[in-house]
Symmetry: C2
DNA sequence: TTGATTATTGAAAGTTATTTCTAATAGAAA
DNA sequence: TTTCTATTAGAAATAACTTTCAATAATCAA
């Protein structure tokens, strides 16, 4: 669906995003570029919350407001560029969206918050079959496994 | 793990819950009984939020406070009697917990909120394998498929 | 059964992630 | 450029919980 080649350079990413936004009468602004850059530079398996974004931007000496961050995130989710994931309690995390085929899922330690990503074609297939069976149009699916990691098991003597 | 036979009568359910609570130095109080009763009487596939509970209790002319509801829900989740599920945005839903073997998952319409429950042993197996592979102790898993139901597809002409 | 102990309750105040509001700013099309 | 209007920052508002605390009530022991 989306052509999210993470290896094209940032300028290129900006052009792609700009035309995608302009199609919809939206604009590629400075804050939106900064936010996208953070995600492009974030290694796979890492996820950013609004607060993470706020601190990463302001730590560089630049300014941004939370309202801008939230609006940009929602916009990119609506456009299908990003995905909202539920990892820890009480806040939302975001990641760049990849195609359905290489959709990944999350294994989360409920104590320390450690997150592993994994792929499982059975899960992907299950989501497709289930939507088909009920006449639904598939939008997204989230498979999150909660457990306690080895480190936390040991430290809970 | 838990013996949640939904067909035993309420008085029996209360006795079971009471001894379970007393084991931990906790008490079975009026509000807790009312909340449990709502869940026992709720048909499968339905889920209750704190607000749902508040309205169902107060509509009967009885009183309850949100703090009591939230405290009771957390307690029952901690005891493994209930499960917290993420269905719609912005709030949490709760359901009685069944054994891992017959763990079910959710197909949600992102427009109207319609929820279907389904079981899929492949998903259950995937969660077990993934936790095992990383040395995690499995606590729970949530598989939620988001889509648009047939009715909403048609009404979006 | 009765009283002592202490978990639990309701009401109100507090918290926190997110959203809305508004005047000022700045992309993009002409 | 200039015009049009999407977007911004910052502050105020919201919504879903959570905490606090004095009053109440479930349980245990006698």
């Amino acid at each position: 669906m989306e052509s999210n080649n993470l290896d094209v350079n940032l300028a290129n990413q900006h052009d792609i995003l700009r035309s995608r936004l302009n199609q919809e009468g939206l604009r590629l602004t400075g804050p939106r570029q900064k936010i996208l850059d953070l995600f492009v530079m974030t290694s796979e398996g890492e996820h950013l919350s609004a607060e993470d974004i706020y601190y990463q931007v302001t730590t560089k000496g630049e300014k941004i407001s939370y309202s801008t961050i939230y609006r940009a995130l929602h916009m990119m989710v609506d456009l299908g560029i990003m995905r909202e994931v539920e990892l820890a309690e009480g806040r939302k995390y975001y990641e760049l969206r990849t195609s359905l085929a290489k959709q990944h899922h999350h294994l989360v330690c409920v104590q320390c918050g450690e997150v592993h990503e994994f792929e499982d074609h059975r899960v992907t297939k299950a989501s497709q079959q289930e939507t088909l069976g009920h006449g639904f149009l598939l939008r997204d699916c989230q498979f999150t496994v909660y457990g306690i990691c080895q480190t936390c098991q040991l430290s809970a003597i």
